[in-house]
């Protein structure tokens, strides 16, 4: 059989007209995504201060230096700590709230609206409000910050603290505020997941004499595994990359206890003018994030098989 090639003039014209539909998107995408994507790899192999016309090619020196950079690795640990708190505290809270709202309860709509208000706010706004609440100053013998004033009032003077400067508490405060801002996402997604579970399954479990714990353990949780995994991946990728919140909550100085990878990239770029090093950090961090999400992909496919 003879295969007819359909590349006629009319056909070419047709394609060209169809290409016009995707052209604007591809043009913007090429200039603002693909080119920077290529350039980040290119720059990471150079030493460049951002201004000088000649970039010095240094091979993988930036990456070698990064391996030795203790501040960088501790910043990854900090991001991991924030993520851990977000995964446990924030997601448990979100799941508990979703379960509570899945039953017949008064003010259900009100809660749904209110819990999603913090995610709507910007990180700058959230950071500044909480910085003010956690303020550690004292004026005329009175605590300025709301939290310290409250602790002072109820007699817990020993708990009064400089929350955002103390290396012991700063990162935890950031993580808690991050969770405050973020739990609404998990809540809405998990609630939507809960509402898709067939109520007959609960009915069947009840008829079989299951207690409410057993029906939660054997009906709710297995049905929710895919949704929970989505929330977990979103939480991990979001929390690892948190940084605007940190910029607005603490003034980064010479102390490194609230540094996270993206603030390190920013410092390398705008502070010490080492653009190549900043790009190497970005690539290194990107690889870490891809490995984490692949890990979750593998776990989720294993769970689907089981």
């Amino acid at each position: 059989m003879k295969i007819e090639l359909n590349i006629t003039k009319a056909n070419m014209f047709e394609w060209a007209r169809n290409y016009c539909f995707v052209l604007p998107a591809i043009a913007i995408f090429s200039v603002f995504y693909i080119y920077p994507f290529y350039e980040i790899f290119n720059l990471s192999l150079h030493e460049w201060n951002g201004i000088s016309p000649n970039r010095v090619y240094i091979g993988f020196e930036n990456f070698k230096e990064l391996m030795q950079d203790e501040v960088w690795w501790s910043s990854l640990v900090h991001a991991g700590y924030i993520t851990l708190i977000a995964l446990t505290f924030q997601n448990t809270l979100a799941f508990a709230l979703a379960l509570a709202c899945d039953r017949e309860i008064k003010l259900k709509k009100f809660y749904r609206v209110v819990f999603f208000i913090p995610p709507v706010l910007s990180e700058v706004v959230v950071g500044l409000i909480w910085q003010w609440i956690l303020h550690a100053g004292v004026q005329g013998g009175e605590q300025i910050g709301l939290l310290n004033r409250f602790l002072d009032k109820i007699g817990l003077h020993h708990m009064v603290n400089d929350w955002l400067s103390d290396p012991k508490t700063a990162l935890t405060c950031i993580a808690v505020v991050h969770s405050w801002k973020g739990f609404g996402w998990g809540f809405i997604i998990l609630l939507a997941g809960l509402q898709t579970i067939d109520k007959q399954l609960y009915e069947a479990a009840r008829v079989d004499g299951a207690t409410s714990w057993q029906s939660f353990r054997n009906v709710t949780v297995p049905m929710m595994v895919p949704v929970i995994l989505v929330v977990v991946i979103l939480t991990v990728l979001g929390s690892m990359q948190v940084f605007v919140l940190i910029l607005s909550m603490v003034n980064q100085g010479l102390v490194f206890h609230t540094e996270v990878p993206v603030t390190r990239i920013l410092v390398a770029m705008t502070g010490t003018n080492r653009f190549g090093y900043a790009c190497a950090m970005g690539i290194n961090f990107g690889v870490v994030l891809i490995m984490i999400s692949l890990l979750f992909k593998i776990i989720s496919s294993r769970m689907k098989q089981a």
């Binding site: 539909f21 998107a25 591809i26 913007i28 100053g137 004033r149 790009c279």
Partner: protein, 285 residues
């Protein structure tokens, strides 16, 4: 009988506990916002010492100071300009592309579509570094159009994916009818496909509006001229230069938060719908 009462008591207590739990979390969500509002109505003399929940003399001058001296009027206008133009740009560009990916034929269709999908799945945390270098090189740094184009790119991939999924599920009968009536593909896209895709477009509009309104880092790196800054950068700038003037800072925060909260309250149904459809996409990836 006693058994029954005991059960009722138990479930009553359980319901009470659940309500207390939900209510306390709701208060935790709202209280910081209330505190911001309260502090924005105080003066520098009272803000550090007054302990009452609602301070008796409400001071409105903070808002005037923020609006004029703090430049918040300009920032607000800029944020509105950026948000509106980016969202309009994304809706037009992404719906054109998604329509072509779903309905029209041309070589490399799948290749280009998966290019956009892939961009969603690869996190590139430091991408702002080469982006800013490029913007400086081509002279688009510190311009409105440069920032708008960058932000269109940020929302493009997700919007194309959402719209393409929507068009794929949408029956093409109406488009066929329009074609038989002699409509060209551009007219079909505008008169048939776009109006039918309204639910998906609502989702795109809301999420991109939130995203652009709240964006900070690109504004921080690209826009140095105070006349071009959006609210998020303006608030940070003001805080860094007037770090003790908390009443005015809080007034500035109220100005920057109010529009987005009003939009949210007006459109919150679509947000929930969008999040759930986003989950479906996340699962299928």
């Amino acid at each position: 009988m006693i058994q029954c009462n005991k059960y009722r008591l138990y479930s009553g207590a359980k319901n009470f506990g659940i309500n207390v739990f939900l209510l306390s979390v709701a208060v935790t969500c709202l209280f910081p916002l209330f505190w911001m509002l309260r502090c924005s109505f105080m003066s520098l003399d009272t803000i550090f010492v007054d302990k009452s929940l609602i301070p008796p003399p409400l001071v409105f001058t903070n808002y005037i100071t923020a609006w004029t001296k703090g430049n918040f009027g300009v920032y607000l206008l800029n944020s509105v300009i950026y948000t509106a133009s980016v969202v309009v740009g994304i809706v037009i560009i992404s719906s054109l592309a998604a329509y072509a990916f779903s309905r029209l034929e041309f070589p490399g269709r799948n290749f280009f579509f998966y290019m956009f999908v892939l961009a969603l799945m690869i996190p590139l945390p430091g991408s702002f570094v080469p982006l800013v270098v490029m913007m400086n090189k081509i002279g688009l740094a510190n311009t409105r159009i440069g920032y708008i184009l960058c932000m269109i790119n940020v929302g493009l991939s997700m919007s194309i994916l959402i719209l393409k999924t929507f068009f794929d599920k949408m029956p093409s009968d109406l488009e066929d009818a329009a074609r038989i009536d002699g409509c060209g593909r551009l007219l079909i896209w505008w008169h048939v496909a776009l109006p039918l895709a309204r639910p998906a477009i609502a989702v795109i509009v809301i999420f991109n509006s939130l995203n652009v309104w709240n964006e900070f880092i690109l504004a921080q790196l690209l826009l140095n001229d105070e006349a071009l800054m959006p609210l998020q950068k303006g608030v940070m700038l003001f805080t860094n230069t007037n770090s003790v003037d908390y009443p005015v800072i809080m007034a500035g925060l109220v100005i920057s938060v109010t529009p987005i909260i009003l939009v949210y309250l007006a459109m919150q149904k679509h947000i929930i719908k969008g999040l759930t459809s986003g989950t479906v996409i996340g699962e299928s990836c």
